[in-house]
């Protein structure tokens, strides 16, 4: 029961990030800036939740919205720079991850630092009434999992049933034909990456309000970040929303499984990252390119 709870806790951000990355790839944008959006979303939620007064649900909603907004803003900024100055999005978004990490650390330390903590760079603890409710006692499994599942349903509906979803598919399959059909490519790219950035920012906010209850430097980002697992899930899932669910579950199992193996057998947790690399490698051979243009 504990392990299922821990796996579902890890599944929440992995699925959300996976959804964000999935939509970006499907729309032809090879954006790998999910980690930065994730961290900044978490920072916004941590900073807002500690500062805003009012009843718990108000704080919760405002913080989640703030996280989504900052994630969208960051993604939009990177995408605009990439579009306007013709810089490869994949390179710019990778650098932007490091920049976002530094910006979040600097902002936390100088603006939002909890004065009671000296050894860690972290925001003040969010009031307990604003936390996402816990679902079990032994693990940090929280109501965020419902947000992730609802987002998965929403993305499925968006991609399969709406005009915007059709455009996403068209721009991914054939950007020239999509542009000729009358959609402004620059405007579409803006809407697409604002949407995917907001989903990844929301993932960070959910992680902060559900698990950490504060933004902690290094808790969301880095090589071990769950955002990378989400990106991996999206790469493996290819073109199917439905396939994203089992892919995310697999990666969540790997995350918690290797934490267990590390404790039991003394194998380095790097094994999980190594396997993640090998899984991505299979995606590179699956014949499905994540997006039609591979750079910008």
């Amino acid at each position: 029961m504990t392990s299922i709870g821990a796996t579902l806790t890890a599944l929440t951000p992995i699925l959300l990030i996976g959804l964000g990355a999935f939509v970006a790839f499907r729309g032809g944008a090879f954006d790998v800036g999910q980690v930065g959006q994730f961290e900044l979303g978490g920072l916004a939620a941590g900073a807002i939740a500690a500062a805003v007064p009012g009843p718990g649900w108000v704080i919760l909603l405002v913080s989640l919205a703030g996280g989504a907004a900052l994630g969208a803003l960051w993604s939009l900024l990177v995408s605009e720079l990439s579009q306007r100055f013709a810089v490869e999005l994949v390179v710019l978004s990778l650098i932007a991850n490091y920049l976002a990490d530094g910006v979040a650390r600097l902002a936390t330390k100088t603006l939002f630092q909890d004065p009671a903590q000296f050894s860690v760079i972290a925001t003040r603890l969010a009031p307990a009434r604003a936390w996402l409710p816990l679902l079990t006692f032994q693990t940090s499994l929280n109501a965020g999992i419902f947000i992730a599942v609802a987002a998965a349903a929403a993305v499925w509906w968006l991609v399969r049933r709406t005009t915007f979803g059709h455009r996403v598919t068209m721009f991914g399959a054939n950007p020239v034909a999509a542009a000729l059909s009358g959609t402004d490519p620059a405007g579409f790219r803006r809407r697409l990456l604002a949407l995917t950035g907001s989903v990844c920012g929301l993932a960070g906010a959910v992680e902060v309000l559900g698990v950490f209850h504060q933004y902690q430097d290094g808790a969301l980002g880095g090589t071990n970040s769950l955002a990378w697992s989400g990106l991996t899930a999206a790469l493996v899932a290819g073109s199917s929303v439905i396939a994203l669910l089992p892919a995310s579950v697999l990666l969540a199992c790997m995350t918690t499984g290797f934490a267990g193996i590390q404790l039991d057998l003394g194998i380095d947790p790097g094994l999980g990252i190594l396997l993640q690399g090998l899984i991505i490698l299979t995606a590179a051979f699956a014949g499905r390119r994540p997006g039609h243009d591979t750079g910008r």
């Binding site: 090879f30 790998v32 720079l81 100055f85 013709a86 810089v87 490869e88 994949v90 390179v91 710019l92 990778l94 650098i95 932007a96 490091y98 920049l99 990490d101 530094g102 910006v103 650390r105 600097l106 330390k109 100088t110 760079i121 950007p175 090589t223 990378w228 991996t232 790469l235 003394g266 194998i267 380095d268 947790p269 790097g270 094994l271 999980g272 990252i273 190594l274 396997l275 993640q276 690399g277 090998l278 991505i280 490698l281 995606a283 590179a284 051979f285 390119r289 994540p290 039609h292 243009d293 591979t294 750079g295 910008r296």
Partner: protein, 330 residues
């Protein structure tokens, strides 16, 4: 704050860090000019750091063994990248990402398996690279402290930068490399193999990346630590994009970013928040990346056809193919 800039220690450390960055950047620049965006540079560099430290510790061959092992590991991982992308046609961007994860995880697992501790390898067998004191520099006080007494790899990196620029722009083979990046169809039409050019550039680049990794792992402190490259491979890739077709720009760029790094670490003593050091270098990369694209000569970058070329050989065939897509442009 500005007095730091006059300090010879800061500049000595800057050149030391710039060496590693310059070698890695050159190693990514060669395939970039041949039309391949090597996103695996970070992983190649990390694996080569590990290879260098492991070889030096296990063989007892000293810094020379470490340096050679770094170059060989670089070649091997770069050849793997070439095999998967150029050889077998897998998506280069995805393979690059995968390599970065596989090496970060793989070196961590190997560290624990071989040394029984996770995190860092630091043993008494590990010696730093020797330093060369240049003759005739003794009389120039500040310059001597900065330029002399660096590792041989520093002087090699400067020579390599000049050699790469000269080779690309003044030899037939260099022309073929540049053509493979801009007009692969022309290279193919001239009876040369684009694939072969890209293979050679990737593996030769791998050797340079490996040397850069050896400098990183063995220059100031000889050790391997988890994820010690910390994004330098990506910064190097951004530097190649910033330099574009201007090969010689790589030297001042590498030195400038090393300075940002070293200066950032020392900002704390000037009363500024230490966290600035994790913002400034990356912000500078983004700003320069954007600025240079603004000033770029149109139609001269790898992967984008020269404006006049399509007229000269009109009807020579559609410019498509993997090399263009790997260069990162539709």
């Amino acid at each position: 704050m500005l007095h730091l800039l006059a300090s010879s220690t800061i500049w000595y450390q800057t050149l030391q860090a710039a060496t590693s960055l310059l070698l890695v950047t050159l190693g990514l620049y060669l395939p970039y000019r041949a039309g391949v965006l090597n996103l695996g540079g970070e992983g190649i560099m990390l694996a080569a750091c590990f290879g260098a430290v492991l070889a030096e510790d296990k063989t007892g061959g000293g810094a020379l063994a470490g340096t050679l092992a770094g170059a060989v590991s670089g070649i091997l991982i770069a050849a793997l990248f070439a095999l998967l992308t150029v050889g077998l046609g897998a998506n280069g961007l995805v393979v690059g990402l995968a390599l970065n994860f596989a090496t970060a995880g793989g070196t961590a697992v190997a560290t624990t398996a071989l040394y029984g501790i996770s995190g860092a390898i630091s043993t008494p067998n590990l010696r730093t690279l020797p330093t060369w004191h240049l003759p005739g520099f003794g009389r120039l006080p500040w310059i001597a402290q900065v330029v002399s007494g660096q590792t041989p790899l520093t002087y090699l990196s400067w020579a390599a930068a000049a050699a790469v620029a000269w080779y690309l722009h003044h030899t037939r083979a260099g022309l073929t490399i540049r053509a493979a990046g801009t007009r692969p169809d022309v290279v193919a039409g001239a009876g040369r193999s684009v694939t072969r050019v890209q293979w050679l550039c990737l593996t030769a680049g791998g050797a340079l990346i490996g040397l850069g990794a050896a400098q990183l792992a063995l220059s100031s402190v000889a050790q391997f630590s988890y994820n010690m490259t910390a994004g330098r491979g990506f910064v190097a890739l951004a530097l190649t994009l910033i330099a574009g077709t201007r090969s010689l720009l790589l030297v001042p760029l590498a030195i400038a970013f090393a300075l940002f790094d070293i200066y950032g670490v020392n900002l704390q003593s000037a009363g500024l928040p230490a966290e600035l050091s994790s913002v400034v270098p990356y912000a500078a990369v983004v700003v320069l990346l954007v600025l240079t694209r603004l000033l770029r000569r149109p139609g001269r970058g790898p992967g984008e056809p020269h404006p006049r070329a399509s007229i000269a050989i009109a009807g020579a065939g559609q410019v498509t193919g993997d090399s263009l897509e790997e260069a990162g442009r539709p």
